[in-house]
Amino acid sequence: MNEQRRIPGNSIVPDTVESQAYVRGIVERGEAALPDKDGNLPHSATHEIVGHHDASGLPILVRRKMF
């Protein structure tokens, strides 16, 4: 796991088959994003990208909202 910055304790780490499927779906639907300089996510994003999981090639996420 490559921690680009401090990973919050409530992060979703794609280290199992199920969590990888879950994260992959979020990424494919465009619901994961990096925050802007003010820390805000685009409206369409439900999850903030907080790191990168090298083994799976998927981002580490934290949920920020539910539609």
Binding site: R29, R64, K65, M66
Partner: protein, 498 residues
């Protein structure tokens, strides 16, 4: 065209349109407000008692400029302010009555902030700090997501579930995320049913079968219409999501991550429709179970079951482990709670969840019981000499699978020798594996029970039954020599919708 009550209705919210005669709902000791009954699309304006935004642990603070109490015209910001306040208060009061000590997620504090118009978007969300609503342009005018009680109570539902089970927020499981969405839609349905006029309208529109498509099941019609103009495949044909649907449970790992609204996908809103559909079926079954006249349930009876299924849902959520099969966890907890609430409720709950595939009809098998029962039956039918020398053409299944107690269920197994070496295909080129006779028989019987096609009269206790109250029965069970036998009664055309 659905039957309408004798009410004034309006199409898409026009700007600055006044309500000529709104329907009075409730006693207004301290004044009242105008509001929508459920959704602005073909909406019914009603008058409601003044909502108290600050009330108990589940208080709100609308962040827009405060608007004096009063009856405001549809299409004005002042109308949207009090319409939102009314819907949010009604929704929170419903859940507060179920869990009096319930409070917003710990980081929020006593007042949940509400942003009624936070910018341009066809959207709304809950983010553990606030509920935020937006606006967008559509044919017929501006659409405000915060004007629809359906949308308001869906988002409030997220906040309520987050208050009940904050651990679900971060769970990386498709079913947990989808259940959060389903809870939002169930909140919208249950909040709407707190209005007497809504209950009367739904009973009138559905003939008392409240799982039929109606203004109750059609959630967020206006927002759905606005989105449909730009993305016709993203929403249901008649609303954003219709809880009256036929979607069956499929493990979400086997589903595509997204797709059109016409198919089931692993996207949480899409997959939520399986549970919400089962919930509406269960509500309908419960109403028929307690109605004095099942042919004409009353709105008081609908209020009673809406409160009871709210209690049952909460119990199911409390008891459910946060696992990847979260739907079945909640469903099992609800069935258990239903039996404790009213013995008449276990059956419609089971029927609804089994029919959707959320709860399996199978359970652990008592092998020895089955073997013994099969021996007894074979001996009686064919004589002792053939008891163990031939493969039985009758198969003994565990009746406990179907809630029928510790006995055998005898079915005719498809075990005759094959004349042609053919099979069905998974794809055009890949043949499927032909199931063994016992697997095929079990699958067939499971399907009959799932579809509610087996008449259990006289062989099962009422509380143990999983068949729907009203469905066409193609098979019946006959008790014979200590075992149950499955007998076909008729073949149906398959066009009857229960």
């Amino acid at each position: 065209m659905p039957q309408q009550l004798n009410t004034k209705t309006s199409k898409r919210t026009p700007s600055h349109r006044r309500i000529p005669e709104s329907i009075h709902e409730g006693v207004m000791h301290d004044g009242g407000v105008n509001a929508w009954m459920d959704d602005p699309e073909n909406g019914t304006p009603i008058q409601r008692p003044a909502p108290a935004l600050e009330n108990g642990n589940l208080s709100y603070q609308i962040q827009d400029d405060e608007v004096p109490l009063g009856f405001y015209a549809v299409g004005t910001a002042s109308f949207r302010y009090w319409n939102a306040a009314e819907a949010l208060r009604r929704g929170a009061d419903f859940w507060q009555a179920r869990i009096p000590q319930l409070a917003w997620f710990e980081g929020i504090g006593p007042k949940l902030p509400i942003f009624l118009d936070d910018g341009f978007d066809f959207n709304a969300f809950y983010d553990r700090t606030a509920l935020k609503f937006f606006h967008g342009n559509a044919t017929g005018g501006t659409v405000f997501s915060g004007e629809s009680p359906d949308v308001l109570c869906h988002e409030m539902g997220h906040a309520i579930l987050d208050a009940i089970r904050p651990d679900l927020w971060d769970i990386a499981a498709q079913e947990v995320a989808a259940f959060h969405e389903s809870f939002g839609d169930m909140s919208a349905i249950l909040s709407a049913l707190q209005l007497p006029l809504m209950r009367a309208a739904v009973i009138s529109e559905t003939g008392g079968h409240v799982n039929r498509s109606s203004r109750l099941s059609r959630l967020a019609e206006q927002l759905g219409q606005a989105i449909r103009e730009s993305y016709p495949n993203d929403v249901d044909p008649d609303c954003l999501r219709n809880a009256s649907n036929r979607f069956m449970y499929v493990p979400p790992l086997k589903l595509p991550s997204s797709g059109p609204a016409s198919i089931l996908t692993a996207e949480p809103h899409s997959f939520s429709r399986v549970f919400t559909g089962a919930f509406l079926d269960a509500l309908a079954g419960m109403l028929l179970a307690i109605a004095r006249d099942p042919g004409a349930p009353t709105e008081d009876e609908l209020l009673q079951v809406s409160n009871q299924i709210g209690d049952i849902l909460i119990a199911g959520i409390h008891n459910a482990a946060a696992t990847s099969d979260f739907y079945s966890q909640v469903a099992a907890g609800m069935v258990q709670a239903a039996g404790q609430t009213d013995s008449a409720f276990a059956r419609p709950l089971k029927a609804a969840f089994v029919k959707r595939g959320i709860l399996s009809v199978s359970s652990a098998t008592s092998v020895q019981t089955l073997v013994d029962a099969a021996k007894i039956l074979s001996h009686r039918m064919t004589g002792a000499a053939t008891l163990v020398s031939h493969a039985p053409s009758h198969l003994a299944l565990d009746a406990k699978h179907y809630g029928l107690g510790d006995q055998a269920l005898i079915v005719e197994a498809p075990s005759q020798p094959r004349k042609f070496s053919v099979s069905a295909a998974v794809t055009d080129v890949v043949p499927s594996q032909v199931p063994s006779s016992d697997v095929a028989a079990q699958g067939f019987v499971d399907q009959l029970f799932k579809q509610g096609r087996v008449d259990l009269s006289g062989v099962a206790d009422e509380a143990e039954r999983i068949d729907p109250l009203s469905s066409l029965k193609t098979h019946r069970l006959v008790k014979d020599n200590g075992a149950l036998q499955l007998k076909r009664v008729l073949c149906d055309c398959g066009l009857k919708h229960d």
